[in-house]
Amino acid sequence: MQSHAILFKYKNNHLSLSPVCQRTVVKAGLCLITLALFLCYFPYLSPALADMLPVPISEEMIEIPEGPFLMGEKAESGDHNIVVLERYTIDRFEVSNAEFKIVFPAYVYPAGKERHPVSFIRWREAQGYCEALGKRLPSAAEWEKAARGTDGRVYPWGEKRNRNKPHPPFSGMVKRVVGFNKKDVSPFGVRDMAASVWEWTADEAKGKKIARGGVWNQHLDYEYSRTTDQIEVDADRRYIFLGFRCVR
C-alpha cells in the first residue's frame, strides 16, 4: 500500500500518478530527449569537442612493408608499372595546425582549429618540420603506395568512386579535423589520402614540387582525387589547400 501511495493517488474517483512520480517521468523524458539530440548531433559535435583537447604531436605512424606495388595508371594494353620500395613508416594523419605550432611556435592559426590540417605553408617549411622530428617528406611513390596498397586500386577504399561528396558545396577550401572522413581510409589504414588538403611530396616534375591526394574542385562541386592524381606546385608558393604528412 505504501509503495502504491508513492506511485498513484485517488482523486475524484480517478487513479492518477502521484506528484513525485509525475516529476520523475518529466525528468526521465527530458533526459531521453537530451540523449537523443546528443546522439543525433554527435557526428557534428565530436570534431568541435576534439578541437578543445590539447594536441600533442601524433606518434601514430603506420608501417608500410617492403615489396612491390602497382604504381600509376593502368595502360590500355593492361600493363601496370611495378615499383619496389623498402620498408618505411608514414603518418596516419596529415600534420595538424597544433602539431605544426609545436615545431614552429610563431605559426598562427584560427582558434578552435587545432586539429585541422596545417596548410598555407611552403615546401621548405614542410620539409623543416619533418627534419625537426627526424622524419622527411614522402616520395611520390611512397605516398602512392601508402594510399592504394599493392593491388593498383583507383581509390584508397577500392575501385568505385564514393557517391558521397568529400566536401561541402562551397567554392573554397573547407577544412575539417584530420581523419574526419571515416571512408577515406587506405588498405594500410592511412587517412585522408583522397580528399582533405593536398600534400607536398619530396619529388619534382616540370621544375616544381609534386603534391598528391586532395579534393578536386569543379564549379561548386567536389570530387575525391584518384590515388594516381597529382598537381605540380612551385616550392615557394603556399596555398590554403596544401599541407603535408611525414615518413620515416
Binding site: S171, G172, V215, N217, H219, E232, V233, Y239, F241
Partner: protein, 238 residues
C-alpha cells in the same frame, strides 16, 4: 484611420521606398557620375562570348570625367582621386587569366598600378588589415592587405592596351589572378581601409569562400573552346 489618411500614408511609404532605392549609390561617392539611360550588366552575347561579363546587378554607365575614387577608412590621408590622377601613378602591365568560380576562364593584358602606390599617398594606419571595395553594381568585396600587396595584384584601368570597357569594370577594377573572379571587384567607387576583416557580398549570400583561392580542379578556358583541363590551383599562368 480614415480612407484619405490611409492613402496618404501609403503614398508616403512608397515615396520613402523610392528615396531609399536611389540614395545609396549616389551618396556613396558624393558625385553624380552616372550617364545616359543605358545600363551595363551581365552578358555572354556577341564579342563577350570570348570573355564573359559578370556583374552582381545592372547599373547606369559611369562618366569617367566626373567619377572619383573615394579612399576612406583607416588611413591618415583619405581623399578622392580622379581617373586622370590615378593614371599618373607608376604603371605596371601584366598578362593574367581571370578564373571564374563558374568554371570558365579568359586571359588579357592588364595595365594599372600597385596598391603600394596608393598607400604612399593615403598612408594606411598601422592597424589597417584590409580594404573593403564598394562597386557600382552594389557589389562589396573585402581583400586583406597581404593579398592586395601580392606581386600579381593590380588595380587596373586599361585592358589589352585600351581603357577598360564598362563591361570589364570601367573606370577601375582589381585583378588578383590566383583567386576566383569574384575576388576581383569591378567598377570600383570606394576603397575603405579597415582594421578588422569584413565579408563580401557573395560570402554573405552564397556558398563562396571568404578566401577565394583557386583550388586544384578543372578549367574551361573560353580562348581554347572551353576544352576542359586540369589545373593545380592558384594562378593559371598559361
Amino acid at each position: 484611420m480614415g480612407r484619405r489618411s490611409f492613402i496618404r500614408r501609403i503614398i508616403i511609404a512608397l515615396a520613402a521606398l523610392g528615396v531609399s532605392w536611389f540614395r545609396p549609390t549616389k551618396a556613396l561617392a558624393g558625385f553624380n557620375f552616372w550617364r545616359g539611360s543605358e545600363y551595363v550588366g551581365k552578358t555572354r552575347e556577341g564579342k563577350y562570348k570570348h570573355f564573359y561579363i559578370q556583374y552582381y546587378k545592372s547599373f547606369k554607365r559611369i562618366e569617367g570625367e566626373s567619377w572619383r575614387l573615394k579612399v576612406s577608412g583607416a588611413c591618415e590621408n583619405p581623399q578622392n582621386f580622379s581617373l586622370e590622377v590615378l593614371k599618373k601613378l607608376p604603371r605596371q602591365t601584366q598578362v593574367s587569366r581571370i578564373k571564374c568560380v563558374e568554371c570558365w576562364s579568359a586571359k588579357a593584358e592588364w595595365e594599372g598600378f600597385r596598391l603600394a602606390a596608393l598607400d604612399a599617398i593615403v598612408r594606411p594606419l598601422p592597424d589597417a588589415v584590409g580594404v573593403l571595395f564598394r562597386c557600382a553594381d552594389t557589389y562589396i568585396e573585402y581583400l586583406p592587405l597581404d593579398d592586395l600587396h601580392h606581386t600579381r595584384s593590380l588595380l587596373v584601368h586599361s585592358m589589352n592596351a585600351a581603357p577598360l570597357s564598362d563591361e570589364h569594370g570601367f573606370p577601375l577594377r582589381m585583378i588578383i589572378p590566383y583567386k576566383y573572379g569574384y575576388k576581383s571587384p569591378k567598377a570600383i567607387l570606394e576603397m575603405e581601409y579597415l582594421s578588422q576583416a569584413e565579408r563580401g557580398t557573395w560570402n554573405r549570400i552564397g556558398p563562396y569562400s571568404v578566401d577565394g583561392t583557386i583550388l586544384p580542379g578543372y578549367d574551361h578556358p573560353l580562348d581554347r573552346e572551353k576544352k576542359r583541363r586540369k589545373i593545380s590551383g592558384g594562378e593559371i599562368f598559361d
